[in-house]
Every structure is written in C-alpha cells, then in structure tokens.
C-alpha cells in the first residue's frame, strides 16, 4: 500500500490541505479530492494540454505534476480563472462570444493557457500560436480561439 502524504497549497485563492497517495498526480487531486472536475485528462502524457492549470501563474500540464510537489505553491484551475467571485475571465467570455468552443473538452486547458498569454501581454500572432500549441483542439481548427484571444486583448485594453 502506498504511503500517504499531506500537501498544503493555495487552490484558486484558498489555502487547502489534502492527504493523498504518494503517487497522486495534481490532476487527480484536483478532480477527485478537490472536486474540481473542470480540468480534463485527454492523454495523461502532457501532450494534449486539456489538464493545463496555472502553477504560480505559469501554465503546466497537471497530469505530469506530482501532487506532493505543489506544497506551498499556488494553483489556479479553470474554475478559478475569473477570481474568487466566480465570474468568467475576459478570455472565457470571448470564447463564448466568438464561438471558440465546440466539444469543450480542450476548452478548460485552452482557457487557462489563453489567460496566461494575455497576462503576459503577448500580442504577436506567431508567438501566441507557439504558446497555444500545447493545447490540442480537434474541433475548431483554432481560428475562433485566436479570434477570442484578440477580442479579449482588445477588451482588456479598454
């Protein structure tokens, strides 16, 4: 039987402690222990990006993060992107308005990475595409996701 370990970190702005199996992935902690099922598992190998969350503000694939290793750090999931009020992040709103959502399974990861791109103030299209390339989408062909990024950037500029 695997040992259990305790891990305390900030989850969507709230300090939380979990006791989990030593081999638990952050993805499973979020989904099964914290009940935040918005983060999806599409491949389990860090290739598809459906499980992307922010770790200390930077996007990471939570399927490759050992839960025990986030001790003391800050994790933001798709449920917390808009802040504590439960509102949607401007990029999430733009995805709705621009039709950047189809099946929705990649969407949480896309929303998280897109929010990180906007937070970094990156507007050059080639660089945006490079940064988004870790979030595979099989439905949209990415066009409307780019439109949403642009709309959210314009929106946040005033």
């Amino acid at each position: 039987m695997a040992e259990r370990v305790s891990v305390t970190f900030t989850l969507n702005g709230e300090r939380r402690t979990f006791t989990v199996a030593a081999g638990r992935r952050l993805l499973d902690l979020l989904r099964d222990d914290a009940g935040l099922s918005g983060t999806k598992e599409g491949c389990g190998a860090g290739e598809c990006g459906a499980c992307t969350v922010l770790l200390d503000g930077r996007p990471v694939t939570s399927c490759l993060v050992l839960a025990a290793s986030v001790e003391g750090r800050s994790v933001v999931t798709v449920e917390g992107l808009g802040g504590a009020s439960g509102a949607l992040h401007p990029f999430q709103r733009a995805l709705v308005e621009k039709g950047g959502v189809q099946c929705g399974f990649c969407t949480p990861g896309v929303a998280v990475t897109g929010a990180a791109i906007l937070a970094q103030g990156i507007s050059e299209p080639g660089e945006r595409a490079r940064l988004l390339s870790g979030n595979l989408c099989r439905c949209t062909g990415y066009s409307k996701i780019f439109e949403a990024l642009e709309a959210a950037r314009e929106g946040s500029n005033g």
Binding site: G38, E47, E79, Q102, F105, P125, C139, S143, K144
Partner: protein, 800 residues
Amino acid sequence: MADPPARPVKGRRSKVEGGSARAADRGLHATPPGPLGGSHARPDASAKVAGLTRYVGDLALPGMLHAALATSRVASARIRSLDTRAALAVPDVVAVLTAADVPGQNSIGAVFGDQPLLVTDRVRMVGDRLALVAARTPEAAWIAARAVRADLEAIPGVHDPVAALDEGSPTVHDGGNLFRTLRVVKGKIDSRRSKATVIVEAEYHVGGQDHAYLEPQGCLAIPEGRDRLTIVASCQCPFYIQHAVAKVLGLPLAAVRVEQAPTGGGFGGKEDYPSEPAACAALLAWHTGRPVRLLFHRELDLQVTTKRHAMVVRHRWGADAKGKLQFAEVETFMDAGAYAGLSTVVAERANVSCIGPYAVPAVDVKTHVVYTNNLFGGAYRGFGAPQVTWAAEATIDKLARELGLDPLEMRRRNALDGMARTLCTGQKLVGPVLAREVLESATRMADWDAFRASRPQGSDRLRYGMGISLVLYGCNLHWGGQQLDRSSAVVILQPDGSVIVRVGLTDMGQGNLTAAQTIAAQALGVAPAAVQVWQPDTTTVGDSGPTVASRGSQMSGMAILDAVARLRTRLDPVAAELLGCAAEEVELGGGFATVRGQADRRVTVATVAAEMASRRLECIATGWYRTTPREFDSETGQGDPYEFYAMACHVARVAVDPELGLVTVEEVSAAHDVGRTIHRQALEGQIQGGIVQAMGWGVTEALHLRDGVLVNPNFTDYIIPTAADAPNINIAVLESDGPGGPYGAKGIGEPAFIPTAAAIRNAVCDALGLEIDTLPLTPPTVVAALGDRHPLAWVLEKSR
C-alpha cells in the same frame, strides 16, 4: 534568430464571403425575423468555458466500480486457454468476466454478426477483448486486466488488403477475405476509351486516420433494480448503444435507457465504437449490481478503436484532347480490418463518391471490402469519400498536366451544372447545381490566376504551390441506410413561455444543440435563450437513427418543425382569440404572436403559453420526419443513392521545403453550397475545424501498424495539428433554394473535411513538379518522392 527549417511566417487575414445579409436580400425565400443565420452564443458554451460541463468522466455514484479491459496485444492467434485467477486475486477486484458470462448474445457487430464482445477461441485483431474487470479503484482494475493470462498460439495474419485477396493468403474469417464488392457500372468503357487522347493510370495508397477526439471513449452503466439499466455514454448514437446492450444482456429494448453525456468530440469515432465499451460496462454492472464506469486512457483508445479505412485506389481514367472526361475505371481495396463493422456502409459512400462532381459518360467502379488482421475501420468524417476524393482529384490534375491544361480549366470543362445534371449513378440532380459556383468562388478567394501567373519566389529553398479539390457530397444516409433515416422530436411549451426541446440526434461538439435551438426558436418566434434543448435520451424520443452523415441539423430540425406545426394547431387558436383574429392569420416572430400584416396587433408568446396552461391545453407536441424513399440497384450502382447533394471546393496554398520534405499549408479557401445557414458561427466552425483535421490526415497523421499493432498509440507520435499549424482560412458560403432540410439547410460537417487533403496534395505536387500518390505527405514521404532529384541524394550513396 536561428536558421530554422524554412517555414513561412503566418499572419491571420481571413476573408469571409456571403451570408451576412438577410435571405430575402439575397434573392432567397424570406423567413420571418429570428435567429436563423445569425450567431447567438451557443447554449453549451458558457458551461464549457467555466469547466462546469459534466462529461462522463466527471460523473461518479456511491459504490461505483471502475472497469478495465483485458485485450489481446497480438493480431492473430488461437486461444488455447484463459486464466483469470491472478486477476481475481488482485485486491479490490470485484468481478472478472469472460464470454461465458454473457447472458444474451456474445455479438457486438454494428451490421453483421462477425464480431464477438468477448473472444473465445480466436484472436483476429489487437484489442480483441479477452476479459472484463470491475474493481473498486481504477488502478486495481487495470492491474487486474494486465494479470489476465491468455495462452495464445500465434497464427499467421494478413495485413495488406490487396495481398489478402491472393490465393493462399491466411483468412481472417471462414468464407475468405473478400467480404463484399460494390459496383457502379454506367456507359460503355470500351467505346469511350477510343475517344480518349490521354489516359492516366495510377495506384493511390491512402492511409487511415484516428479520430483523436480530445475526450477518450467512456461510459457509465447504472443498474436500475434487477431488470433494467441506464447507460450514460460519450457517444454519437445512443440508439445504437440501446440495441447493442439489449442484445448482449438479453433485455427488451425498453429496459435499456441510454442518455448521451456531453461528448468531447466524435467525428465518427463515437458512432459505432461506443456500443462496445457500453456493452462491457453494462455486463459488469449487470453482474455486480453496481454502477460501473469505463474510461479509456489515450493509448488504449488509439490502439483499439476504429479508424478511417486505409485504401488502395487504382485508376484508369481517360479524357479527350479538349479535356472532356470520357471514361473512369476505379478499383478500390478497403482495409476493413478484422471485423465488418460499418465497412460495407462506408463502402457504399466511397463507391458512389469516387468519380466526384464530374460528367463522365462511362464509369466502371469496383469497391472491395477486404478483411485483414489490422485494426478495424469504422465511421470517420467523410465516411470513405475523402480517400476516393483524394485519388479522383489527383487524377484530374494528372490529366490536366498531360493535356497542358490549367487544373481550374480542366474542372470547368467537366463539372456538373444546370445542363449536365447526371451523376455516375444515373441520378439526375434537382434544383441549383452549384459545382461551378463553388469552384469559381474558391479559386477567386485564393487568387488562383494571379498565383499561377506570378508564383511567389520565397527564399531559395521554399517552393510554393496551389491545388484545387472539388467535391460532391450526398447528404444524409445512403439508400442502403434508408430504414434508419427518420427522426423524432418533442417540444414542450412551458407556462412562462420557455420551451423544452428534445431530439434524438446528438451534439458531440459540432453544434446540434445550437442548431436545434435556433430552429425551434425561429419556428416558435421566440428568442434562442427561451429554448432549452436537453441531452438526448432514448426514453424521451423515438429512435432517430445515428448522428452521422452530416444529418444532425437536418433531421432534428425537420422533426422540430413538425412538432412545432402540431403545437401550433393548439397555440394559434388561443393566440387568435387573444388577438381577435383568425387562427390562420397568426404569425410568430420576435417573441410575439402577431396578426399577419399588422405588427402592432401583438401579444407575447409567453402570454399565449400562460393562457394555454390555464386552459389545460396540451402544450406538448411530438414531431417526426422521414426522408423520401428512393430507388437504387445495388448490383449496378445505378439509381438515387442520396436524397440531395452539396458541392464544395477547397483551394490550398502550400509552401514546401523540399530538402526536408516539410509541407506548410499557408491558406485554404473554402466555398460551400450550404442550402441555408442555420447558425453562421457554428457553420464557420465546422469548416475551419474540418479543414485543419483534414490537413492533419493529409500531411502528418500516419498510423504506423506493424503486424496489426499500432506502434505510435500516443499524441507524441500520432501527430495532429496544433495552433501553430493552422492555416489562414477563407470561407465563402453559397446559399440557394433547392432540396434541403429545415429552411433549406444542407449538412456541413463532412463537406468541410472531404476536399482539403486532396487540395493540399495537388498543391504540393504543383510546388514540386512531381506526383506523390501516398497519403499522408510526411517529410520522409515527400523526400522519398524526390528520390535522386534531392540535391543531396548523393550523401546516401556515400553512407552506404
């Protein structure tokens, strides 16, 4: 900073033509004001962006068990014995089941009875199920599945659909490997051959494709007491699952309820295949009396689920000196894999689509469905048409090159139109025939003539090319599937004016909820937000067939319109009473019931709904729709395979780095004959998504099979396009009044996919001045096609 493999910089400047003005302004039948053709927010989007949508993997019940599959890792073997004791001994394991535990029929084939749910004596493909496990944790379930011991005696398999027809080839099933041959026979080839001045012969090797939906297969089976059960599944076809589970468990259909979970992509991969995991979970739930959830991990999903069929397509086509096609002979070998699945149905579409939208006086088509020990083929967006289109459009370009004709001109001279309306099946097209219009529109957006007049000169190492692909798409189900071509809807008007809609067709991301909502709102004259379309459930509507063949919007829409018409037999008289007019004068639109021609005499639909409720009138109506019966001779392939057709043309512009074999698709211009737009944004999304998915198939997505084993079952080596690969996409939407579905709409899901890869292939060949007849165009394939023409080919001699 670095000197990268030469790849052009991308901007994003997409053009969009057509579709913004109201239908009446475009000379089309007018519709009352409403959401039709607009882009209101999809009803499922806000939950999805917030991570609040509950897919099947997000559902859990108290006491729920986790299922796992013990599957064969070899493709061909005899089963000497099966030992499940070690699996049962794994802690937390509750049940390990084999074929002996199936209470009904151990048979899962979608059309034919050649596939067992659990194998007993023979393994025919990788992924054949040996045993099923249910355990308290997913970890225990998969450990136990690996602990199932099978004593297998390897027997020779066959892995090539052409070689499988050789005498002496190992046979996959008794009765030989040739499962079916379909034909199209029209005109006299011999007399037409003498009129041809150029003849192209070719053999195309067209690879398969994995659907790579982002959500792997998954389902949840919930026993409801001891005599019935509920299945919640990621799927396109809940009615297929209902039938499959009832058969395996020996239950009446009415005892199996299937609810479609929000589904994370399908593309055909969740048409036929989900019946298999659903039957597995159902069997485990039945035996344990507990809810059982089965979730595939990605490697398993890639390794065992159905694929787009790999095909070998042989052509002999001839044209006269003016470029007019005279005859076309096509022989296609479809790799069905180890079980028939939907292969014969896919073959039906491939068989009648392989000539394209061209007038050809003499046609001889053979489409062979061949068993091998490879992974089995199934439904995949385009359903056999993309493969034969890839071949047909390559041959058209080859003929043009032989004749010294511009490929655009070659197509102009042969495309069907208002005069030449007869397909290779002898079917005469009804209504506007827009092949030429989509051809001209797409090439205009692509600046075809300007490109050919002054081909861009990039850095010395890039070559630029442009290619066309023109297709005709038979809408909805083929004649062979007519018995399934009906649909059901339920519309319930609530006392507050809001509306519940249930349909039997599913949304797997393509937007069927949006389309159904738009159509219902348009028909009832209310805002889209007033209409709630709920997930399909087999207990709420009649069997509506599968959500495939781009038929979702059409079939749900027509049934909704029927239901609304019936509801209005009760609604209109109440409205008329409130308005003081005759029932025939009542019009619905903009949230109001009005008197025709007198917009100021109005009352809200909500007021009418409240009045109906207070009078205890029936506020629920059902709707039903059947497609028109058709005649077709399956021996000769002559007749009316489809009810009506949509045309599409894609033009691709590529940059090729020949020395490294790198293909960059810079731009795709897509013109589509859509009948009528239902939801503009969803329509564009289908086109953009179809193009990028087809680009993946055409360029990077190689399925590497060795002895029937997929050796790249992961997203590291099964390479689908990322955001950085997405081309600029120009879209032209051509609307017209002709045969179609609700308000004249035709399907878009598959027409968006079918032309792209062929256009890319033609563009690459245009850039390089050579022919590549193997798909996908991976870097090694492109470099191999260059052969000795590679400027550094000499280094290979040197290193030998």
